[in-house]
Amino acid sequence: MTRVRVQQAVFEAGAEQAALTAGRTDIGAVVSFTGLVRDFNERPEVQALSLEHYPGMTEAALEEIVTEAEARWPLQGVRVIHRVGRLAPGDPIVLVVVARAHRRAAFEACDFIMDYLKTRAPFWKKEHTASGEYWVAERETDHQDARRWETTS
């Protein structure tokens, strides 16, 4: 099991967490974030989402983000899964699981990985709505979120 995966198939957050902590007694905290497809975004009535990525570079970018997280917080386990292809509202799209001896670092590292993933990993969303399909635009708030980590390091 590699710590970074890009896949079409659905993932199961509970199973991923169990795999990460199996046989371990040094882990005191597991923080997990699951992102779901919303049925509203820039426009209402989102019926589906298509996710594209840049195979090869995507995996490398996620690996780099995890490596940077590990340099900031000594972590005992990380799992990042991002789905691609066509997804429906309510479907899980991204999973970040971070295991650590204490909770603070686990919370922070999970937050950090998501912020960097949203601004650095080459994924693109196209939303299919009742009023047509369009590519999702980048958000300044995501960049602001990512910049928080530049001053605290």
């Binding site: 079409q8 990525h53 840049y54 691609v84 066509r86 991204v94 080459p122 590519w135 635009a137």
Partner: protein
């Protein structure tokens, strides 16, 4: 699975259905006849020289379903309880979609009857319109669903929408600029991803290193614009660049065999 129309010696024979229980059987099939938009417009307006095209094709399809056993050698003659043939004019695709459904209570399936009805309705449409359009094309004739009988219910899966996961590959409907490199010439492979690919209508293009004034990303952009003015879009809005899958800028040097990707800001998560 064996073919029921072949006996133990591999010879064709008609299956004896006398001992099979009667059950309610239904089947639906569909097909498409593509034509010029002008032909479709004439058809819709009832302006074709042979008269009411759709009514004629409908009767032809129903008649054909009833006579399937005369056309298809090992088919049984069936007392169909219902045959319907319907047409949908699709202006966007410039075609007529033909569908047929057949029903009976009996011992054999009615899928051949539904397929025959669609085929003959399409042929009749061709005959009725051929005076104005000889390029019409009949296609995609298939069984959509059948219910009843020993082999159970069948429903054709809708063709899966292509999941555009792998970006940077040309897709249907795109204008391909083709490889601009002669065989053996040192090339740079350029990929346009996601929204940028759709905006430019270009997925992949190869550029000869010799066309670059300066051997860097800025030089590549200039060469692309010289090849095709659409690449001016590379300067519009925020367009990111990666060389060999590592983020890069205008000054990043390039050599032959490099893979350069241009793409919009990322929106994952």
């Amino acid at each position: 699975m064996s073919l029921t129309h072949l006996n133990a010696r591999g010879e064709a024979h008609m299956v004896d259905v006398g001992d099979k229980p009667e059950s309610r059987r239904e089947a639906s099939a569909s097909g498409v006849i593509r034509m010029r938009p002008a032909t479709l417009a004439l058809l819709a307006d009832g302006q074709l020289p042979k008269g009411d095209v759709l009514a004629t094709a409908r009767i032809a399809g129903i008649q054909a379903a009833k006579r399937t056993h005369e056309l298809i050698p090992l088919c049984h003659a069936l007392a169909l309880s219902k045959v319907s043939v319907d047409f949908e004019l699709d202006e966007a695709e410039s075609c007529v979609r033909v569908s047929a459904s057949c029903r009976l209570t009996g011992r054999t399936g009615v899928e051949m009857e539904a397929l025959t009805a669609v085929s003959v309705a399409c042929l009749t449409l061709y005959d009725m319109c051929k005076a104005v359009d000889k390029d019409m094309e009949i296609g995609a004739i298939h069984l959509d669903a059948k219910t009843g009988g020993k082999s159970g219910d069948y429903r054709r899966d809708a063709p899966a929408e292509p999941a555009p996961i792998v970006t940077g590959e040309g897709e249907a409907g795109e204008v391909s600029l083709g490889a601009r490199c002669a065989l053996g010439e040192p090339c740079i492979l350029v990929k346009c991803l996601a929204e940028l690919r759709e905006r430019l209508g270009v997925g992949e293009v190869a550029v000869s290193v010799d066309h670059l004034e300066t051997a860097d990303v800025a030089g590549l952009k200039a060469a692309l614009k010289a090849m095709d003015p659409r690449f001016a879009a590379l300067e519009e809005g925020r367009v990111l660049c990666a060389v060999n899958q590592v983020m890069a800028g205008n000054a990043t040097p390039l050599t032959a065999e490099d893979e350069v990707a241009f793409f919009p800001p990322v929106t994952g998560g």
